[in-house]
Subunit: 221 residues, 2 copies
DNA sequence: CGACTAATGTACGAACCAGTACGTTAGCTA
DNA sequence: TAGCTAACGTACTGGTTCGTACATTAGTCG
C-alpha cells in the first residue's frame, strides 16, 4: 500500500525525519492529484502513510503549505529531467524535434504532475506565487530552446521569428492538452488521446507541427 | 451583485421557475469555475441568487447534478457558437485559419468554460459520462473541419494526412493551454499569455502553425 | 547513563457544509 | 372565490474535516 516496504518492527517506531517527510510528500502528491486541492483529505493522506496526521502539521504546517511543498518537488523533478537534455550536438531541426519528443514523453509519464498544474491554475497559481522556490523559476529547457532557435534562425533554416518562451508554450500546449483533457475529449469525441497505440502517431504529429511552423515558406510576408 | 437587476418588490416574492432555475445556473457556473467542484459552496451559490439553498435541491437534486447541469449548459453555448460557423465559402487555407481564429476567440471569451473543463477533467469526466445530453456529443466544428480538410486534401493543397478529430485537438490545445495555464505560465516565465497586447500575436501564431502543418512540404516522406 | 530534544502518537474540538423536515404562499383553475 | 399545487423560505442536523492540546518515546550528547 505505502510506497516503501520494510521489515515491520513488531513494536517501537523507527525515527527517520527525512523519510517520513518524503513519504508524506509522495502520498500527498497522489492525493492532491487524485482529487484536487479541496477534494484532497488530510486524513486520507495521513492514513496512507505509516505516520499520523500530526506529522503533516509538524513538518509542513498545514494543508496549504503541504500542497506548496508538493508543487515545489514536482517542479524540481521536471527541472532535473530538463537539465539532462542533450540535443545541441544535433542540427537545429533534429534538435527541436528531439526536444519536442522529450517534452511529449515527460508529460505522458507524469500525469500526476499535469493534474497538479491544472489544479494550481484553478487556484490562480497562488501557491507558486507564495513559494520562494518557484517564483520566476524559468526552465532549463528554455535556455536550450533559445540556443537552438538562434542557431536555426541564423542559418536561415528557421523562417519563423518566434522566441523561446512562445515556442515552449506551443510545444507544451499540445503535450499538456493531450494528457490533461484526455477524459473530456474521450467522452465527447470517443478518441483516447493517450491510448498506447496512438502514441507514436501523436508524437510524430507534434514534431511535424513544430518543424513545419519553424521552417514554413513565408514567401508572402 | 446578482446577474439581473429588477425593481425589488418590497414584500411578497415573485414566482418564476424558469428564471430562478437559470439564475441558479448562472451563479453556480461562476462559483464552480471560481473554486472547483469541491471548493464550490452550495451555500455560497444560494446566497448569491435571490432564492435559497432549498431551491437548488428542489430544481437540481444536489450539488453533483447541479454541476452536471452547469456543464450541459456550458457545452450547449459552445455548440451554438460553432453552429454559426460560416467558412465553407472560403478556400481551404483561409477557411482553416478562420476556424482557428474563431476557436481562439471563443476560448478567450469564455474562461469560465475553460475552467469548468479543467475541473471536469480532474474528476475524470464522470459528470459528462453520467449525462444523457453530453455523452459522445461531438461538435459541429468537427463536421466543418472534416469538409474543409477533404477539400484541401483533394486539391493537393493540404499535404498532411490528418483527420478532423486530431486537427481539432491541435487547434484546441493551443487555445486551451493559453487560457487554462495562464497563471502558472505567467508565474514561472513572467509572460502573460492572455495579455491584450499579445492577442493578435498569438492568434496569428496559431493560424501560421496550423497552416504550416497542413501545407508542409513533405518531400522526405 | 542520565537528561534533553526532535520526532511521534492519541484524542478531541470547533467549524463547516451538504442535505432535509417542515411550514408557507403565490397564482392558477374550476 | 375556494381550493389546489408548484414554488418558495426557515431552521436544523448529522457527518465530515482541518487543526491542535497533550502525552510519549527514540536517539543523541555531555
Amino acid at each position: 500500500m505505502t510506497t516503501v516496504d520494510e521489515p515491520a518492527r513488531p513494536h517501537g517506531r523507527i525515527r527517520d525525519a527525512a523519510r517520513t517527510r518524503s513519504e508524506i510528500l509522495d502520498v500527498a502528491t497522489q492525493e492532491f492529484a487524485r482529487a484536487g486541492y479541496d477534494g484532497a483529505r488530510v486524513d486520507e493522506i495521513a492514513a496512507r502513510t505509516r505516520t499520523t496526521k500530526r506529522m503533516i502539521y509538524y513538518y509542513f504546517g498545514g494543508k496549504e503549505q503541504l500542497f506548496t511543498a508538493v508543487l515545489e518537488r514536482a517542479y524540481g523533478v521536471i527541472r532535473e529531467a530538463e537539465q539532462e537534455l542533450d540535443v545541441e550536438h544535433l542540427d537545429p531541426v533534429a534538435a527541436i524535434r528531439r526536444l519536442a519528443e522529450v517534452t511529449f514523453d515527460h508529460h505522458e509519464q507524469h500525469p500526476d504532475f499535469i493534474r497538479l498544474v491544472s489544479i494550481e491554475n484553478i487556484h490562480g497559481a497562488e501557491h507558486i506565487a507564495a513559494s520562494e522556490k518557484l517564483g520566476r523559476i524559468g526552465s532549463p529547457a528554455l535556455d536550450v530552446i533559445r540556443r537552438i532557435l538562434a542557431s536555426g534562425q541564423e542559418s536561415g533554416l528557421f523562417t519563423a521569428d518566434v522566441d523561446a518562451v512562445d515556442l515552449h508554450a506551443m510545444i507544451s500546449s499540445f503535450c499538456f492538452f493531450r494528457v490533461a483533457n484526455r477524459h473530456t475529449f474521450g467522452a465527447l469525441f470517443g478518441r483516447d488521446l493517450v491510448a498506447p497505440e496512438q502514441r507514436e502517431h501523436y508524437r510524430a504529429m507534434l514534431g511535424d507541427m513544430v518543424i513545419a511552423y519553424l521552417t514554413a515558406d513565408r514567401a508572402g510576408d
